[in-house]
């Protein structure tokens, strides 16, 4: 009897609940087509050094017309204040659960983006995969420009970054990775830089951050090397200009893969030597020099050439970073892991960093030279 009563009670509660919920006192519904979905948020500084927020929104036109992108801008002290201001400008609820990309103008980035990032992380509806991009120029201008081949600018930039990341041209930098490197001791974050160029957007190298502040730029030539120094590098391509006397020319290495290994030594004078061992493997895709590729010995000279090129370039890259006092490769991490905790806490890494000697040793292996050996020079007799 009581069991039946209980069951009746359940049924009543459940029915009542469903009726209440279904009949519309449910405010938490976020029905897809009734939302204005943030795709990209951009941050600029205007002339009065005030933050100006631009949001590219995926918006559903009235009455079932095509989905298109809309751009709205507001001036605000913070991104959330901007959201409130922005929502006055659109007929739908602005939501940020589908946010893909955040863009920072160089001015914003050099002032430090810690607070902006912090609020992105704080909002549980924002994915940790939201990209962080630095824009060379005005973000608003970039987002509002129309590119003839790409109707949707924000999406275009997003896909561009995604493709470049997949090809390992640039490191993947999203909120999670940026905060991770920012909060780790012994490594500083980076972010890709994009720039408008004519009718296209191009990746314009890497932004080097010192903590959360943009301090300098690494030219796109270093993209590959940076990727190699950061982690395992797979299936990439690298173009190398050899400048040895006997094997002048350029080599294009394809299907490059590399493995890295760091070693740390103490200098007698105090300070550290960090050595990066790279093992690079690849196939020759293009070669313009004079060496006979059929000759095994000569391939070794090419290998040496490539090794030298990479190691020089790598050392240059670290020098640039040292110059800006930004440890983006993560030398500090290597040093930290080689000494005791007490010592690590006692040294001031920021001061020590420029004094650290960085060496790079590369071991290149050419796996193959393609489908033919060489087209012989026509003999003139």
């Amino acid at each position: 009897m009581s069991k039946r009563g209980l069951k009746l009670f359940f049924v009543c509660v459940v029915l009542l609940g469903s009726v209440l919920q279904m009949t519309g006192c449910n405010k938490s519904q976020r029905i897809l087509e009734k939302l204005a979905i943030d795709h990209t948020i951009g941050y600029d500084l205007d002339d009065e050094q005030k933050l100006s927020v631009t949001a590219a929104i995926i918006n559903q036109g009235e009455g079932g017309s095509e989905v298109k992108q809309e751009l709205i801008t507001a001036e605000a002290d913070s991104s959330k204040e901007a959201k409130i201001k922005l929502s006055r400008q659109t007929s739908r609820n602005i939501v940020s659960g589908q946010l893909r990309n955040t863009m920072y103008s160089m001015d914003v980035a050099s002032q430090g983006i810690r607070k902006l990032i912090e609020n992105l992380v704080r909002d549980p509806s924002i994915s940790p995969r939201v990209k962080i991009t630095v824009v060379n120029g005005s973000v608003q201008e970039l987002l509002s420009s129309k590119f003839p081949n790409h109707p949707n600018t924000s999406q275009y930039v997003d896909h561009l970054l995604e493709k470049n990341w997949k090809n390992q041209n640039i490191p993947q930098v999203n909120i999670y990775q940026f905060t991770r490197d920012y909060l780790d001791d012994g490594v500083d974050p980076v972010a890709p830089i994009v720039r408008k160029k004519g009718d296209n957007v191009i990746v314009d190298g890497l932004a080097l951050f010192k903590d959360d502040k943009y301090v300098g730029k690494l030219s796109p030539d270093y993209n590959m090397l940076f990727a190699m120094s950061r982690g395992k590098y797979r299936q990439g391509e690298i173009y190398i200009k050899l400048d040895q006397n006997d094997s002048d020319g350029a080599v294009m290495l394809g299907t490059v893969s590399s493995d890295k290994k760091f070693k740390v030594w103490r200098k007698r004078s105090g300070g550290f030597v960090v050595e990066l061992f790279l093992e690079v493997k690849g196939d020759i895709m293009e070669y313009t020099g004079n060496v006979l590729l059929s000759n095994h010995k000569d391939i070794i000279t090419i290998e040496h050439g490539i090794s030298k090129y990479i190691s020089n370039k790598m050392e240059d890259m670290v020098d640039i970073m040292k110059d800006k006092r930004a440890d983006n490769v993560g030398l500090g991490k290597q040093v930290r892991n080689s000494i005791s905790y007490k010592e690590w806490k006692n040294i001031n890494w920021d001061e020590l960093y420029p004094e650290v000697t960085f060496r790079c040793t590369v071991n290149t292996k050419i796996k193959s030279t393609g489908e033919i050996l060489e087209i012989p020079v026509p003999s003139r007799e």
Binding site: S18, Q21, M22, Q29, R30, L32, I37, I58, Q60, V67
Partner: protein, 472 residues
Amino acid sequence: MTANHKPVTLEYVLHEFEQCVDLIHRNFPMLSADMVYFDHLIDKDAMEREVLQPFANVQADELDHLLKDTRFKPSSSSKEIIEGILKGDAAIFHESSVYLVSLYGPSSRPIEQSETEAVIIGPHDAFTESAFTNLSLIRRKLKSSHLKVIQLSVGEVAKSDVFVLYIDGIVNMEFVNEMIKRIRDIEVDIITDSNMLVQHIDDYPNTIFPLFLTTERPDLIVSKLSGGRVAVIMDESPSVISGPTSLFEFFTSPDDYYQRWIIGTATRILRYIAFIITITFTAVYVAITTYHYEMIPENLLYTLIESRSRVPFPPVFEALLMEVTIELLREAGARLPSKIGQTIGIVGGIVIGQAAVQAGLTSNILIIAVALSAIASFVIPSYVMSASIRFARFFLIILAGIWGNFGLMIGISILVIHLSKLTSLGSSYISPIAPLNFQDWKDSFIRGPFWMLKDRPAQSRTHNKVRNKMKR
């Protein structure tokens, strides 16, 4: 009616069958004998062979001698005689004694293929309405003296024959006794089909899930019997019951065993995937489009927004509308003759599907979701189970419409809690999972190779665990 000791008279029997025009009363004045029977219950040839010809060849004084033959069963109880006549015996009244001769043989459907449980390979014979044919189908496949058959009857008015089958030495007698007890305890006028009988012997009447497996396939019943389960045949019903049953038995089909084991396993896994799709797919659509827009991948986002944009209802009503439409189509298709049924398919599939999207009543992605989950539900071999699952889906869709993923999980939790309460003949309904028995997984979630399937299922609690060994 307590005329057990009085000799039963012809008049009494005729009085009992008053107003039964189909009763035949035949008089043999030469032999001073009377015969009473139902013409349509007996086999005419047998009548000719067993009764008429012998009667024609004897003199009046030899009749007594003839009636001593064992095929003439003397009877003195009026109840027995009346039951006998109703069961297709002919009652012969001679002098003061009455004899029953069994001539049962009504016209019945021949053994045909099963419509609801079609097979591609494997035996094609299916049970018919005649219990004896069904028994014969089973005996032919199971030539063992250990196969025992107990006869019971249900229905206070209808008195249908029910046979309980089991293999002695394999079955756990607790189940047999429980089954017999439950069938005996049924107090209703009439039961017309074994699917109805099942509901009278259920452990829990208020559940959407079938607690016993019913099938039309003799090979399936034979394998269940040899697994140590009990089978129940009901006369005049083409489905045979097997029990105790676990939920996962509904996802197996004898076909799995007729194919190579890898293929059989793949098919079985496919059915479980179908189960998951049926039960959750539309609900997930509703949950995501109503609450969790952030879960949609970017490539799908634009298509979804576009197709949803013209729909005037919230997703939950949109989904319910389409689900009900599909159910209507299915029900209409099932009721109509097969030729018109195809038309329904065309009308439903193309006209409604296309038109509904173009008219902006539903989004085309929902149509795909609904259609996919409907198709998936038909992959499940048991029609009863597939209907139950389709019903459960509605419940989940509504919950997903109320609370999104949270509602969906609440719904799944309720289903799981409900399922774990259920028992079939007192043994757990979700058997190889709880009570946990990994050994049985190789014959329920996958179809292991035959060398692996050495043990009988734990659910049948047999004392004779190892297959292909019979205790003598």
